[in-house]
Subunit: 219 residues, 2 copies
């Protein structure tokens, strides 16, 4: 149900077409949401029907006509009601972490390969976010006017940057960990009746683990 509020939130500050909204979902809003045009257009239709937004048609030559949407008072009220309602419990869906947690089923070399590939992807995302961030920063500094909206979107930007940086760092650390423990993979390819002494003990790698967890275990 959040696409609705993503649209209302954006329209609470600027008028926009469906196409504009899509760009915003690919740009700044990509920090917390994404959507396809084929979902945005019908949603705009529904929101207009329920009178949360109004549209006005702008004929263009050479290009297709634009339908510019604006928020209504009813729409703004709906947005505010949502903003004041209790925040939803986070429901994480991270298919890469799922892959990682089952990667004892593939060779250590492949694990490292996958971690490196993902790290690269996140580095690209970070670079894109930094770019967005720097552009905004400069335009804000030029106009030299401070608003609460700028404060809140800056907070969101910080969260986005932090998240990427930490994920990248985790990839790096985990690659190192797997590299230094790759012997575990040759061990446990199911020769299940080896004598006890043949197994690597947990106590052998415990110091390495403590280092990997850092101060996360305290408390």
């Amino acid at each position: 149900m959040s696409l609705k509020y993503g649209i209302l939130g954006f329209l609470s500050k600027w008028e926009a077409t469906g196409y504009d909204l899509k760009k915003e979902f690919d740009d700044f809003m990509s920090i917390f949401w994404h959507s396809h045009l084929s979902q945005i257009y019908p949603e705009l239709g529904r929101l207009e029907q329920e009178e949360y937004i109004t549209s006005c048609l702008l004929p263009q030559t050479g290009k297709p006509d634009k339908k510019i949407y604006a928020i209504t008072d009813k729409g703004k009220q709906e947005l505010i009601t949502w903003l004041l309602s209790p925040p939803e419990a986070p429901k994480l869906k991270d298919s890469f972490l799922m892959q990682v947690s089952f990667m004892d089923n593939i060779p250590a070399s492949e694990v490292i390969f996958q971690l490196k590939a993902y790290q690269k992807e996140r580095e690209q995302r970070l670079a894109k976010m930094k770019h967005i961030f720097q552009e905004r920063w400069e335009s804000i500094r030029e106009r030299n006017v401070m608003k609460s909206r700028i404060l809140m979107s800056s907070a969101v930007v910080r969260r986005g940057l932090e998240q990427e940086i930490q994920y990248i760092r985790w990839c790096r650390d985990t690659i190192e960990l797997v590299e230094s423990c790759s012997a575990l993979w040759s061990q446990d390819t199911d020769k299940s009746d080896l004598p006890e002494g043949e197994y690597i003990r947990f106590s052998d790698v415990e110091p390495l683990f403590r280092k990997y967890y850092g101060n996360l275990m305290e408390d």
Copy 2:
């Protein structure tokens, strides 16, 4: 499409019923995925039809009969193929961050209230995760056997803990930021034709911003 692999991944190590799987999705796997029983049962049916898993019926007295599922070779192969396939680009959906980015529309006091509520939620999640983590840690230490599976799930646990800790810290820092800038909200309740001098300048709060971003802006 990841529920399928969540199930196959779990069954690659242990046999389980639909009910067991649900518990696992609420427990350890909640770090990266969640699912409802009403989705798990039909999915198990499909996986069995496609011969990725097999079931055996265990009659019970007093309790309903159990249907215990086990992975087949074909299923294990399917899992491995997925594990080796390129990791998906992350598609974040964080409705709380969406709320935050539009919170210039509600009073600063309400912003702080929402941030505190969310911080509490994440603290509870962290406490739960630490609990899961400590239980596992102890049982691993007792058995004193190291396996690659333990290494990978430990990496996932670290990611989960980190994520929570950092989100909580962000909430704390952002509450402070909003508190020290709450004057912005009284300013911009749309008295749009105030003389220029009445506005808070960006340059006035820039030092505060630099502190809030820390070393995130550096390249």
